[in-house]
Every structure is written in C-alpha cells, then in structure tokens.
C-alpha cells in the first residue's frame, strides 16, 4: 500500500498572551491509498487543527512548531505559500462542515466549478464546463445540465454538500480531508453523503480523512480510526477494534457515553477524563422551597392534551407575488401523562420545535386546542391567566450560547423568573434559592457571580436548567437540549434531567432528532414528518416493532455503532 499523506511528530502551537497553546502535540498518522481514516474526538481535541495544518491553512497566529507533513513522498509543511496553494485543490482537498455557508452565494455553480478546474488544469472554458457537468453527475446531482447554472441558494442542504464535494474533486486530488462533512445534515441525507464519499474513495483510489465527533459516522465509513484527546492521538487502529475492543481508557469511556440505540439504560455511564461538574449537593426537597408550595391544580387525565393543533405560516407581502402558505404543524394530537417523558422525533423542518413554541405561547396556533391541566391555553387572553400557566411550564433551548443573556451574571439569569413571578418574599430569599438551585444542578453556589462566557457549553446548559427550575414548574420542554454538546457532556446533562425528573416529579416534552437519545430518555414517542405525526408508541415498542414505514426508514438510517464486542462496551461503563 502506498502512503499518501504522512504526519510525523506534528506539533501545532497557537501563541497567545498567556503563552503558547499547544493544539496538537506529536501527531503521527499515515493515510494509505483507497483508505478512509476516521479522526474522532470531542471539541477542543485538535481534530480540525490537524486537517488545517496538513492543508497549510492554519488560522493565524497558529503555526506548525515541529514535525513534518509529507504528501505523496514530498515534504509540504515547509513549502512557500505559492507552491502550497498550487497543491491545495490539486493534490490535497478539503470538505467543510456547513454546506449552507461553504459556497459563494453570488456565483453560479458552473462559475465556481469552472474557476476551480481552470486554476489547476490547463483546459479551456468549454472543456472545463464539460468536466464540471461530469463531476456533478459523479456526485449524484440530478439534471446537471440545468442545475449547473443555478445559484447555491437554489439547492437543498444535501445537494449543496454534493456541490461542495464536486468542487473538492475538481482536479482529482489524491487526499481528501472531510471536516465534519455530515454534521449539519439530517440523518437520511447524512447516509446518502456518507455513501457517496465511500463510493468516491473506492472508485478513485484516493485516500480520505474524515474528522468527526460522531462515533456513528466513524462506524459507517472509516476503515481505520485515530482517537484524539487534548491534542494527542491516544489510540489508532482498525474501526472494529477501536469501537469493539478499545485499549485506551479514554476511548472506552468515550464510547460508553454514546447513547445506545439498542437497549435502554437507567443512567448514562459517565466519562472520566473530562471536565467534571463538581459534586451535586442534594437538597432536602420536603423542606426546601423548590419542593414546597407546588400548589398546582391537580388533574386526573393527561397533564397536557394537544388536539388537532395547526400552524400555518404565510409568506409573501401585501402586494402579492410569491405568496404561499407553509403548514408547519398540520393537525397534530397527542397527550402527555403526568410524570412521563414524551418524545418528539423527526428530521429538520418536521415541525417539532414549532409545537414547543405553540405550547409555550411563543406562537399562537391557527387551529386546534392545547389543554394544560384542563384549561385550553389558546382561549386565554388575559396576561395574568397566561402567566399563571406559563409559570408551570418552562423551556430549555438547544443552543447554550445564545439562550442565556451574556451581559447578566448567573445569579440574575436564574433569579429573573423568580422576580418576575414574585415567587420569593425577599431579595435575600431569592439569592438563597438561586444558590441552592446552582448547587442542585451541579454548578456550585459560587457560580452565581460569574458571567455566562466563563462557562463551557455543558455548564451553560446547566444554567438554563437552573433557570427553568426557578419557577418551580411541573412541565419542562426540552428542545434538543444536548445536540450542541459533546457526547460526554451530553451524558451528564441527560443524567441530570433524569435525576431532576425523579426528584421533582416533572413531566417532560423531549424534542430531538437523535433516536438513541430519545430511546434513553423517553417513555413514549411521537414520530413527526412534515408537520404531521406518523406514529405514537411506547418507546421500547417503537424501537423493537416500528409500525409506520417512515419510522422503520428512520431506524434503518440510524448509524449503528456496535458491530462487535458488545459485552465489552457495557462493562466499560
């Protein structure tokens, strides 16, 4: 086998005022022809740094401080910029994560392909266009002769990623580095793109490095895997070996933290080796404020009943032209029983988040009823009546970075709902409650005086959870609460949610696109597609005996990580 790309003792440093940050230390990797090498690790592990260093695209002030990069037997890390530019795209190419932002919005696909081809190959305009058409065919874009003159915004996300791949392949590079190529895509599109990448590597004999945080993707496409942890490759080996029988303790705990699609566990196994969230100080809920005065009207039936819910969005303007309706939610009905976790699963655009917004009253539905504890929320008009109900339900959002106010200290963020609903007698009591809440979610009372930017994504999500608990709600809506987090942090946050539910008897609506997470978290699940519910079932029944065709389709697409060594995995936790 020929070695296409070799990293030997590569060290990448980012000089900063507080000294050099070492993003990658002593990395030694080889990529062979016809092989897909997976590089996996959590955020900050240095995965992307390796790719950028190999391409000569390190962001300033980052620099290669040691070691070598060899491409097809030729050392390239010390090439002058112009020589390196000529290699980029011609011999070594890169695919980026987000297809929506990777393409120049102002030029047609044809222009972008032709410029790239003519940069690297001595061909004329007509020949370049012919090649461009061929490339589009190769990456599976239907009707290339017409589509080639379209602009990027006229393509869907999956199709744009195909265009990105076509652009990377323009000059038939021998090495392709794909940095999270499917992270921004839905599962069904992800499966297609991974298929495409595998086929391209097989047909061309090129080598590919896939950089990802997703063990499922690794299991699907990689021949070999390198596991990265804090700038270091801790383990390299064939995919089956790494996933089934890892040697390094970090790999073991990382794999065990991935939600299992095949069996439901009581709690997620926690990963050692990571920032831990400090010990939780449990409160005596019988006497504490958080457990008291939960004087909500008790109900016999379901806590929340949604009947024939409908939401139309109208686009277009008063002057007409391009006016149409979008049925985001189209006749949805379901019940959520007291104390259960109800899951909503579906691909992007299926209407999951819209339902969450309708229930909390961010949108007003165009039809149907939302009964919460027997009261139809859609008929409430007065602010006081609405506030009384809103106090009982709280929401946790997906993005931990934008869902807390960066200019407020954590104490004020968490105290805001208490102050708004006047739930505490005095400022001193409010402060005491906030301190207890922060303790309870594992942040520690001392976090109260800090600002959100001092916390990591997982810790910020804990702030959101503390804020949600601050109204003493009985109903919690979690909209993709962990999809922006690394698996190990995800495991911690999901465990915390489970603990809180047990202690406080919360009812939860849990929204996610991630089927394994749904299996671990939910009692019952509704599968959504294009604003409608396809199937509602007990979680275990849904995963074991899916009734609807679309459910089966989704389950088939779910990346299966485990191929061998199943017992070993359970033991690792």
């Amino acid at each position: 086998m020929t070695v296409l790309l070799a990293l030997d003792g590569l060290r990448v440093e980012f000089p900063s005022r507080r000294g050099d940050v070492v993003a990658a230390k002593n990395i030694t990797l080889e990529l062979n022809a016809g092989e897909i090498l997976g590089v996996v690790g959590e955020s900050g592990a240095g995965k992307s740094t390796i790719g950028n260093a190999a391409m000569g695209l390190l962001e300033r002030p980052g620099r290669v401080a040691g070691g070598t990069v060899t491409l097809e037997g030729r050392r390239i890390d010390n090439l002058p910029p112009e020589a390196m530019r000529q290699l980029r795209g011609a011999r070594i190419a890169m695919i980026f994560q987000d297809p929506l932002t990777s393409l120049d919005p102002l030029r047609t696909i044809a222009e972008q392909l032709v410029t790239t081809i003519r940069t690297h190959l001595p061909v004329g305009e007509a020949e370049a266009r012919r090649r461009a058409l061929h490339l589009m065919e190769q990456v599976g874009i239907p009707d290339p002769a017409v589509r080639i003159d379209h602009y990027p915004h006229q393509f869907s996300g999956g199709m744009r990623q195909r265009v990105v791949i076509a652009l990377a392949l323009c000059a038939e590079p021998q090495v392709i580095i794909a940095d999270e190529p499917t992270t921004a895509l839905d599962v069904s599109i992800q499966a297609q793109i991974l298929d495409l990448l595998r086929r391209l590597v097989k047909d061309s004999g090129a080598g590919m490095i896939i950089i990802t945080h997703d063990m499922g993707v690794i299991a699907e496409v990689a021949d070999r895997v390198a596991v990265m942890y804090r700038g270091d490759v801790v383990e390299t080996g064939p995919t089956a070996k790494i996933l089934g029988d890892p040697d390094h303790a970090y790999t073991r705990s990382l794999i065990s933290a991935v939600p299992r699609p095949d069996v439901k566990l009581e709690r997620f196994p926690l990963v050692e080796h990571i920032e831990s969230a400090g010990p939780r100080r449990d409160l005596d809920l019988k006497t504490h404020w958080l457990g008291q005065r939960r004087d909500y009207q008790e109900v016999d039936g379901p806590l929340l009943a949604v009947e024939g819910l409908q939401m139309l969005f109208r686009t277009g303007s008063l002057f007409g032209g391009g006016r149409h309706e979008v049925r985001a939610v189209d006749g949805v009905s379901f019940d959520i029983r007291k104390g259960e976790t109800f899951g909503l699963v579906g691909e992007s655009g299926s209407g999951k988040s819209t339902i969450a917004r309708l229930i909390t009253g961010i949108y007003r539905p165009t039809g149907g009823a939302i009964r919460f504890a027997g009261t139809d929320l859609t008929t409430l008009r007065s602010r006081t009546a609405l506030n009384r109900h809103r106090r009982q339900m709280q929401m946790i959002f997906q993005d931990p970075y934008s869902s807390v106010n960066p200019r407020m200290i954590v104490r004020d963020i968490v105290a805001e709902p208490i102050r708004f609903h006047k739930l505490a007698g005095s400022e001193a009591e409010t402060r005491r409650i906030v301190a207890d809440l922060l303790d309870h979610v594992g942040l520690g009372a001392r976090a109260a005086l800090k600002y959100p930017h001092e916390f990591s994504g997982g810790q910020r999500q804990r702030i959101s959870i503390a804020r949600a608990l601050a109204t003493r709600p009985r109903f919690l809506i979690c909209d993709e609460p962990t999809s922006a987090l690394d698996v190990s942090i995800q495991a911690q946050v999901l465990n915390l949610l489970k603990d809180l539910q047990d202690e406080l008897g919360l009812t939860m609506l849990f929204i996610s696109h991630d089927l394994p997470v749904i299996r671990q978290m939910c009692d019952r699940v509704a599968v959504m597609r294009r604003g409608q519910i396809m199937e509602i079932a007990e979680t275990e029944a849904l995963f074991e005996r899916p009734q609807h065709e679309y459910t089966r389709h989704l389950l088939d697409l779910m990346p299966k990580m485990v191929k061998a060594g199943d017992e070993r995995r359970t033991a690792a936790g």
């Binding site: 000529q86 795209g89 890169m94 980026f96 932002t101 393409l103 790239t116 002057f319």
Partner: protein, 323 residues
C-alpha cells in the same frame, strides 16, 4: 423583476406624497402666505381677494392636491425674496451643485473603495495603519474646518487655487458647466476634496469592516482550500460579497453629498443650491425651502430605487423568491 421594480416605484411615490405633505404644510401654515407676498399698504379687501384667487380658502385636501399637481410640473410658485419663479432659481443653481457632488462622489469612491480593500487585505501592514489613522482624522474633522484649512494653505499661502466661486462656466443649453474651463476646474478642486473627505473615510472604514467579515466566511476559507489564486479570492469572491451590504450605505451617502453640500458651498461661496437654501432660511423664503425639500427627497428616492435595482442585478438570492 418588473413586479419588484413596480412595487418599489409605488413605495417611492408614497414617500414623495408624504414629503409633499410636509412641504405643503410648511408652505401653507408657517406664516401666512398672503402676508409674505403683499406689502404693508395692501387693504383688507385686496388681501381677501388675493386669498380667494390663490385658492387659500379651499379645503385642505383640494389645496394639497393642487400643490402636488403643480409640484409635479415643477411649479413651486415665486420666491418671496428674489421675485423669480422657484423652479427657474433651482434650475439655475442645480448644475453647480450637481457637478460638485458628482466629482466628489467619484473621488470618494475611486479612492475610498481601493483603500478599504487594501486595509482589509493587509490588516497589519504599516501603510494600512497609516490609512486608518488618517481616516480617523478625516472622519472627526468638521467639514468647514477642512475647507478653511485648504483655503488657507492653497489659496492664501501658496496662491495655487482660487478660494471662492465657480470660475468660468460654459453654457450648454440650460446647463452651465465648469468642467470645461481651466478656471472652472481649478475652482472645483478644493470644494470637491472638502466634500469628499468625510464620505471617503466613511467608505474606507465601511469596506474594510465588511470585507474583514467576508474574509472570515466559510466560502472564502473553502476557496482557499481549493487553491484558488489570491486575486480570484480577494476580488471575484470577497470584494463582490463585500459590496452587497455596503451598496445601500454608499448610495445614501451619495445622496447626502448632494443634500449636505450646504456647508461646503457656504465656505467656498459656491453658487449652488445649498447656498440658495441657506439664504432662503435667513429670509424665511418658504417656497424655496419647500421646493428644495422636495428636490432632495426626490434625489434620495431615485438613488434608493437605483440601489434596489442594483441589488437585484448583483444578488441572485433576490431574483428567485423562495425556492
């Protein structure tokens, strides 16, 4: 495309009607038009008669409609001060202001855009830092001070350039042009620079900030990863994307060059509309003020319309609504 332009056109008409309402209110209700027109010794009957003849006793809507009708044909009545039709006064002064604005707008763009691009591409370069410091001075110095300094240096001390007026002009139909004579051109230099400096520094900073943003975009990174030539990346991709959002502001700035040439015109005694307007304010010459207001609004509306159409040409995302 056509529908879009028609829609914008309809909105422009609406804007003009609102501005006309303000201009009309100014004309009709700031002071009594009859008092402004007649002398001290006019009798009450004559006044009432004049009032009737001018239609000032008609209902508000009728008077407004009549005002718009006249304005549409360029008839704004007589200047109280100069006893000449306002439209003739403006037509006489317009070429001076227009030539001054045009030259300084071109100057601001031709110098400002390349400087902005240069400072964005060579962010740490010594020259860039120099440009940025200069632009800070340019943006913070008031226009009249720059004008007076220029007059002092080039007019009084060095005696290279004339310090006031337009120089010799050539008559082309009703248009008077100073661009074709030596003295006209040399008179133009200092006012044009004075007027251009603020806009230019604004454009430099705007282009630089936007371009730095674009250079961080994923599609620029991806273009680098494909090994495209730096020239292609910087100009075909980055500059084009930079210009899309900057276009609106540059358009409005060109509008304000015309509208706010007032100070420059006063400093250099430039016989343009701005000077006329200042004199109109001093003498409460309401018809001139109303007409000036309408004209400036019209210029802004036209520039906005042109910018909107340009957007349509440059940005394909606007051409297809939805997918």
């Amino acid at each position: 495309m056509l529908l879009f332009v028609l829609k914008r056109l309809a909105q422009s008409v609406l804007v003009m009607l609102v501005v006309a309402l303000i201009a009309f209110a100014l004309f009709r209700y700031v002071g009594d038009p009859v008092d402004s027109m007649v002398g001290q010794d006019t009798t009450l009957e004559q006044r009432a008669d004049l009032r009737e003849r001018l239609g000032l006793n008609d209902s508000f809507l009728v008077q407004y409609a009549r005002f718009i009708g006249r304005a549409a044909t360029g008839d704004f009545g007589q200047s109280y001060r100069l006893r000449q039709p306002v439209d003739e006064l403006l037509a006489e002064r317009f070429p001076a202001t227009f030539e001054l604005s045009l030259v300084s707008a071109v100057m601001a763009l031709l110098i400002g855009v390349p400087m902005g691009v240069y400072t964005a591409l060579n962010r740490r370069g010594l020259l860039s830092r120099g440009f940025m410091t200069l632009s800070l001075i340019g943006i913070s110095l008031p226009t009249f001070l720059i004008g007076i300094l220029l007059i002092l240096v080039f007019g009084v001390v060095l005696r290279w350039l004339p310090t006031f007026g337009r120089g010799d002009v050539v008559q082309v139909g009703w248009w008077t042009s100073g661009l074709m004579t030596r003295s006209g051109l040399s008179s133009l230099i200092m006012p044009a620079i004075t007027l251009a400096i603020f806009q230019m520094t604004l454009i430099v900073r705007l282009i630089r900030a936007e371009m730095l943003e674009v250079l961080r975009a994923d599609y620029v990174k991806f273009a680098r990863a494909r090994g495209l030539k730096p020239r292609t990346i910087n100009f075909s991709i980055a500059l084009k994307n930079t210009l899309v959002p900057v276009m609106t502001i540059i358009g409005l700035q060109i509008g304000s060059i015309i509208a706010f040439a007032i100070i420059t015109e006063s400093v250099f005694q430039w016989p343009g509309m701005g000077l006329l307007f200042i004199q109109a304010i001093e003498n409460v010459d309401i018809p001139v003020m109303a007409a000036y207001l309408m004209l400036i609004a019209f210029i802004f509306v036209v520039i906005n319309l042109v910018v909107d159409v340009l957007y349509f040409v440059v940005d394909p995302r606007l051409r297809v609504q939805g997918r």
